[in-house]
Symmetry: C2
DNA sequence: GCGATATGTTTACGTCGATAACATCGAGCG
DNA sequence: CGCTCGATGTTATCGACGTAAACATATCGC
């Protein structure tokens, strides 16, 4: 609906329409195929090759969008996390994103194309920087880079383990509580 | 070589041969397909359906093997980790496994089949228990379950981020050092 | 207006997972 | 010993996929 389908032959803005359709399918849980996207948009499959060199390129574009959305989610609640509790909520938001849009999340991190897609690298960097800045605020005495990696790994691991059913929870709220508990357990180490 | 190929018609022990071939391909970096496995073993593709209900069942069997191998790796160096440093090496071993056998690691955790495969659930549980016991030894005052989840998430996240190129390192030794640094940074929080 | 260029289409190839129908072997019973 | 039956292979086939080639059409610069 967002983009037009002008003449009978040419589409108008196929690239955007294809991305939108693919994103919608990904979120609807339909495992997407190039052909399915083409079908959805009402165009022949090879037409997509005018706008994406191959399937991976389409995925890469989706991944870029996803990374931006993730960043937006992370900064929405706490623009600049400054307390340990804020950090915990950052992890909660990260895992919640993964569980709300699992297929997209998978594409974001599994799809190869690291070089090549400059916007995507930038989006990923911004997430990393957000984390690093937060760590610096919360733990000024610590190594911010190492802490950022550790925190990212924690959240990313939680996200993957829950997505893949290796950790179980009845509801998304329960997942959030588990993430909080695990995070709290780490902080409580200082009492040992 | 491990299993025989008796008569011209019947294979002898196709199930084992198929698993071995699939595992070898997975570790060689060849993305494996049911048909490719059949080709490798010298048998027609549908023959495999006599031994695996579908592709996922084959993957599930590989995953079970992989989980056992991972557990063996984790317990090889430190049978019962008792110090914080031991925990760090556990994480290092976990990530090293993922980077040494990435395709297998992916199958182990991405492949669905959680119920159904009892041996596999058991293998996963043993890893979880190993972690929990270690946490109890190292941090007797902490919540062992929450700490085990947190530690697993940390190691699993590191593994995935390095596998997917989201964290970069020149060599596997460098990866190990990064994991150690990140782990140390967490422990150093108590000094903040 | 007209031709180059961008953007579609049809057709086709090879691969994949999966099913159905048929072939062959080995074990156990007469 | 010979026959049948069940386990385990085979061939033939289907529909879906990614992708390339050759062809068609619409749009834009002159």
């Amino acid at each position: 609906m967002s983009t037009s389908a002008r003449s009978g032959y040419h589409h108008g803005d196929l690239r955007a329409a294809a991305l939108a359709a693919a994103m919608r399918m990904l979120e609807a849980g339909e495992s997407f195929s190039l052909r399915a996207v083409a079908r959805e948009v009402g165009v022949s499959a090879p037409a997509l090759y005018r706008h994406f060199t191959d399937r991976d390129a389409l995925e890469s574009a989706l991944a870029t969008e996803g990374l931006r959305d993730l960043l937006a989610d992370l900064t929405a609640d706490q623009p600049t996390p400054a307390t340990a509790a804020d950090l915990g909520e950052l992890a909660v938001a990260y895992v919640a994103f993964a569980l709300r849009r699992p297929a997209l999340f998978r594409v974001m991190f599994t799809n190869a194309c690291d070089e090549g897609n400059e916007q995507r690298v930038e989006a990923a960097d911004q997430i990393h920087q957000l984390l690093q800045a937060a760590m610096q605020l919360v733990f000024p005495a610590g190594d911010p880079s190492a802490l950022a990696d550790a925190g990212w790994a924690f959240a990313h691991g939680m996200a993957n383990l829950y997505m893949d059913g290796k950790l179980a929870a009845a509801s998304n709220k329960e997942v959030a509580q588990h993430v909080r508990s695990a995070f709290a357990a780490i902080l409580a180490i200082r009492d040992s």
